[in-house]
């Protein structure tokens, strides 16, 4: 538990390195919601779609490679289907309407001092905080 912040920092540096590679090599902004969303709603076709699939393959596969050598992990995800479905829908709709999520607006946007990135991050953190207060401390659902 005391070492969590160090792992957080190391992981953060890896995440930022991924974003730097995607930007400097391919000239693209590493936004997870845009990469997945463009495949789902059909705005990314042909070569652009393959590029996104290659990116997502890396995201999906690396944890499988690292799993045997890494410390114990547990995702503590909710097993309440209504909560999971509502949350998934909100994340899917919200990130596409806002045109970005934690990686695109947060990591990539704020690191170039984009006002949109900063404002989006303020709003999703505020909404997330309020949701946790409401559904955990007041309603006791999560």
């Amino acid at each position: 538990m005391e070492l969590d912040w160090i792992w957080g920092l190391v992981g953060g540096l890896l995440i930022g390195t991924g974003g730097a590679v995607y930007l400097l090599a391919n000239g693209r902004i590493m936004g997870a919601s845009g990469i997945v969303g463009g495949l789902v709603d059909g705005t990314a076709r042909g070569a652009a779609a393959y590029e996104r699939l290659a990116f997502l393959a890396g995201v999906f596969l690396l944890p499988i490679v690292l799993k045997p050598i890494y410390r114990p992990f547990e995702t503590h995800a909710s097993t309440n289907i209504a909560v999971l479905v509502a949350a998934g829908l909100l994340v899917g709709i919200g990130t596409r309407i806002a045109n970005g999520c934690t990686s695109g607006h947060g990591v990539c946007g704020m690191s170039r001092l984009s006002l949109r990135g900063i404002v989006a991050t303020v709003f999703y953190i505020l909404a997330g905080g309020l949701t946790v207060v409401l559904f955990r401390h007041m309603l006791g659902v999560i």
């Binding site: 992981g11 953060g12 890896l14 400097l24 000239g27 890396g58 995702t75 919200g94 404002v119 997330g128």
Partner: protein, 144 residues
């Protein structure tokens, strides 16, 4: 081909970072959002750590071109707009509810178990529906 290899490497770093940082642990994300509970500062270190190489990369784009050719993204759009605020608020609500956002939801599919697949499936449905929701929103409140 080069473009695909670089995309895979970038995704690999991203997936490794999400896994190592603990950001696929929904308890750590909700713990960071839960300022009235047992607050967990990890997410701030992840975000701070990620912004260091990314900020350097942005500086490095000046006067250069991407390795595979083409252009770098244009400067950020200065206009905020209603969709940015409404969308981010909806996203934040879902993020708080499940403790997952799009990147970690992909990274955790291989080991998180069925709840992660349910969330991921619902997220894809939401992303598919988003253009229609956005159109409804524009019709209801033509602010922009």
């Amino acid at each position: 081909m080069q473009r695909l290899i670089f995309a895979f490497i970038a995704g690999g770093f991203f997936g490794a970072g999400l896994f190592v940082s603990g950001m696929t642990d929904t308890a750590k994300v909700q713990g960071w959002l839960d300022v009235f509970g047992n607050w967990d500062p990890t997410l701030a270190f992840v975000m701070g750590g990620a912004m260091i190489p990314m900020a350097i990369a942005w500086l490095f784009t000046k006067g250069r071109r991407p390795v595979v050719g083409g252009d770098f993204p244009p400067p950020p759009e200065p206009r905020l707009g209603r969709n940015l605020i409404v969308g981010s608020a909806l996203f934040g609500a879902g993020w708080g509810l499940a403790g997952l956002c799009p990147g970690p939801s992909v990274a955790s599919l291989s080991y998180g178990g069925w709840p992660h697949w349910v969330f991921f499936g619902a997220m894809l449905v939401g992303m598919f529906a988003a253009p229609h929701v956005r159109a409804q929103l524009d019709r209801a409140v033509p602010a922009e």
